[in-house]
């Protein structure tokens, strides 16, 4: 591998460079002012500008290199294709929304916000690397950049107990997963002679049947990903970490982090390793079914909202894995892949929204929101209550929300690949999930709440940023549902050309 690179490489990597430079601004200002915390809103705006710039650059750079041109960057380490663009934009937007929520949330605002912006932007940087990586080692670097920033962000929470535990758990289990991933990677490198994804893709057909070491490497890499996207039985960290982390961070982990991990998973699965090995293919299908069932059944009995949504997020990983398998088994991978990307977009919208509303209810950094805390919420905050209703109905897959169309496309892809039984498990599970998604709605609309928390109304009026984010997400949940065809076509076109 040569280490030469030209100006074009730097240009193509400009979104990441911009992100990194902007991430330095708030923290540098803080140092220059003698370690005094700068204005939080200013830090937020600097961070948002950085994200916006990265998004613009990403779109610009991607449009400058249409498919015939060389889309790869730094000697085929990164690639700027449709998947990078669509998921990259998604994670930048997700990070932006999460930053706004962090600014309003008691566990994350206040001092050390400048550091938080620095870490959040670097996490986003890691995400961009992760989605665009064409080399498994670079992919690993992206993964670690993202994860390390997140461990720190969670650990920095003003909440004293659960967040620390959560950060530690996430760190230990995340490192464990990274270790497994690297171990698998070493086998792949040993058998293929390269860590480049394209070389691995090329060699897969001949190696998959012949070399057990290669297969083992592949399985370990897949397990590493399963950890990251919380596929049962590698999901155990998810509920604890999601519950313990400050809600804005949870929203970031449940949406952007999950989206990019799935995007990278998608890239690796395109090796058709699954088809080459019927056993692995079958195991993946069972994992998908298991994930859906365990996620949904466990969510049924939760009372803590964040924990419930964490299990729901596990269940959604199961649905997504169905799409991933469908795309891996298809000759034309773009159909399945675009259903996965579309689902990720829809899922991110509604999950981000749901967590954001939960965040509104947390008056102090130590508040734990349970389902019963929503009693009478719709009466006090009709608009926010309605938005949460939309998010939950969308998560349950009730039309005409984006959640329904996401599931529809996903299961269409599965059925068209002859994976009818996976689709069957999928729809049955979505019936199961209706029960727990309806429970907060029952609380909000059908129970009378205690009138004691007038303080919540007071503080809510200040959180205009959060409310703006929630309103926008709710609007998009319905709008992108009704006009889902256009967005889907757009995604499929993006992915089809790569």
């Amino acid at each position: 591998m040569t280490l030469e690179f030209g100006l074009s490489d730097v240009l193509k990597a400009s979104p990441m460079i911009a992100l990194f430079l902007f991430s330095l601004i708030p923290i540098t200002l803080k140092v220059l002012r003698g370690n005094k915390e700068p204005n939080n809103t200013a830090s937020l705006i600097q961070g948002l500008i950085g994200l916006l710039l990265a998004a613009i650059l990403l779109v610009l750079v991607s449009s400058l290199v249409p498919p015939p041109a060389d889309q790869t960057v730094f000697a085929r380490a990164l690639v700027l294709d449709g998947l990078t663009l669509s998921v990259g934009l998604l994670c930048i937007l997700g990070a932006g929304a999460a930053l706004v929520l962090m600014h309003d949330h008691p566990a994350t605002s206040g001092d050390q916000f400048a550091e938080l912006v620095f870490l959040a932007l670097n996490a986003t940087l890691g995400m961009l690397i992760l989605t665009s990586a064409l080399d498994l080692l670079v992919l690993f670097i992206g993964l670690e950049t993202m994860s390390l920033s997140l461990y720190l962000m969670i650990g920095m929470s003003h909440e004293q107990k659960l967040a620390k535990e959560s950060a530690f758990k996430y760190f230990v289990l995340g490192s464990f997963a990274s270790g497994i991933f690297l171990y698998g990677l070493s086998f792949l490198f040993g058998t293929v002679g390269s860590t480049s994804l394209s070389e691995i893709i090329m060699k897969t057909p001949e190696l998959i049947g012949a070399s057990r070491l290669f297969l083992m490497g592949l399985v370990l890499v897949v397990i590493g990903f399963c950890f990251k996207v919380s596929i049962v039985p590698f999901h155990a960290w998810t509920p604890d970490v999601y519950q313990g982390a400050p809600t804005p961070h949870t929203s970031l982990m449940a949406t952007a982090v999950k989206a990019v991990s799935f995007a990278a998973f998608l890239r690796v699965l395109a090796t058709k390793g699954l088809i080459g090995s019927p056993n692995l293919f079958e195991i993946m299908q069972w994992l998908a079914v298991l994930t859906m069932i365990v996620g949904n059944v466990a969510a049924l009995i939760q009372t803590n909202m964040k924990r419930m949504l964490a299990y729901s997020s596990v269940a959604h990983s199961g649905y997504l894995l169905v799409g991933l398998i469908a795309s891996g088994s298809a000759d034309d991978m773009s159909f399945g892949a675009s259903t996965v990307v579309f689902y990720l977009m829809g899922y991110s919208l509604m999950t981000m929204g749901a967590f954001a509303v939960i965040g509104l209810l947390e008056k102090t950094e130590n508040t734990q929101v349970s389902v019963d805390n929503f009693a009478g919420f719709a009466k006090k905050h009709p608009v926010m209550g309605f938005c949460l209703t939309l998010f939950l109905l969308s998560l349950a897959g009730i039309p005409p929300t984006v959640g329904f169309f996401g599931k529809f496309y996903l299961f269409s892809a599965a059925v068209s690949q002859g994976l009818l039984w996976l689709a069957l498990w999928g729809v049955l599970n979505s019936v199961l999930s209706v029960y727990y998604y309806l429970r907060p709605i029952v609380s909000m609309y059908m129970m009378e709440g205690a009138d004691s928390d007038d303080g919540a109304i007071q503080s809510l009026s200040k959180m205009w940023g959060s409310r703006l984010v929630i309103g926008t997400l709710a609007f998009l949940t319905v709008f992108l549902g009704i006009f889902s065809g256009t967005l889907y076509d757009f995604v499929e076109r993006l992915l089809g050309v790569s």
Partner: protein
Amino acid sequence: MLLSAIVFLPIFFALLILAWPSSKSLRHLALGLALVEFVVSLIVLTKFDSTTPALQLVEQREWIPRFGITYFLGIDGISLWLVLLTTFLTPLVLLGAWNSIENKVKGFLISMFVLETAMLGTFLAMDSILFYLFWELSLVPMYFLVGIWGGARRIYATIKFFIYTMAGSVLMLLAMIYMMLLTQEATGKMSASLLDFYQLNIPFIGGQFFSLQTLLFFAFAIAFAIKVPMFPFHTWLPDAHVEAPTPGSVILAGVMLKMGTYGMLRWVIPLFPEASEHFAWLFMLLAVIGIIYGALVAMVQPDVKKLVAYSSVSHMGYVVLGLFSLNQMGFTGAMYQMLNHGISTGALFFLVGMIYERTHSREISKYGGLASAMPLFTIAFFIITLSSIAVPLTNGFVGEFLILIGSFTADPVFGTVAISGVLLGAVYMLWMFKKVFFGSAGELVSDTKHPLQDLNMREIAVLAPLIVLVFWMGIYPKTFLNPMRSSMEYLVANRGNYLLSIQSDAVLGKSKEVAALVSVPMSNEGEQK
């Protein structure tokens, strides 16, 4: 544009209600808007051409071209009266709920209008995904209606209702996706249009459950059977009905149950002709069980509302019996019975609601001698009771008579058993009527501290149109039978190879070829079978 206007006006009204500043005039506004909607839907009646079975007033636009999903509305003899029933009942419901819904009036009115859109959309959608969208959407406002304004066990009832119905319909969604793929295999282009589904030739192997048509048939039929609800799937209904507020019960019984039987007539029977013929015995059997079982259970209910709810199970059993007789008498009778049930059971729920508002009790044993206390109420109740037990000259007679002839023709055994259901129906209704209205005055009636008021003008205004319809439909059924006749005749004649055409002057660019294909209903496909 007319059909779109009918479907989406209520949503627009809901937004208007949402933005309306004065809470005092909300009810008046809503009633006026609902009447506007009814008048608009009457325009359809004037434009409707009853001589053709073709789909009329069609609107078709591309929606999600990648999957061949279109925004496709159309009306024919099958859906015409159901649409009108919906728009007719909604203003009555709003008027009937004038005093019974006291808190969160705005939310209630919005739910009602959203529900109206969903129901109308279900009856008018001719694209499977659009249909499914409205079908599922109808659950949400109903869920709120029962859950917020319902009785003591409302939350249990509403969640049960939601999950039960959704469990059935997700399998239907899967079947729809599968059929979309079948259209792609058959024509090379994926389509979700019902008309393209009709053109599919789905292989049927008798006696083998895991054959394509049988599985698809059951995926659809179970979804609709749960909604109807048919015998083993009926358990959500008594819960939902008893806990629902009066307007919820009226809409649930009056319109939402018809979505199930409408689905059978529109989707199941024409799409899967061989399977529906093969399994007709099963559905007739379950229908007859439902008729007898519903009647027997109704007989022992101490609660008037529960009695009416179980009578619904029994009455809807007749509709299914008629449908799976698979002949013209059966189809026509079933359609007619759907309207009858909407009117007479709707009216019964209104009446139960009116007495409940006065006494806050539905226990039959606490009443008695109501006839002398509330003469007008008694007369109205009596007329509706007669209609419910299908006495000649009322609407119920026409429907049940047609269904019984139809089922006799199809299978004399089921016909005979079903007739005993008529008798049982008379038994429980008249028994209840006797207990409530005659005899010595019960504790609630004789309570001198709270003398019972007879019907007021508002309540008379709610009941009068229903009573007029009871007699109109009973004495001169032609008005209602004529517009649906050609659709029914066409369905019976071409059941094995049902294709629906679009009335030519309404044909839009893309659907021209469909119309051309359909103009020769007996195409080669039919001969190959």
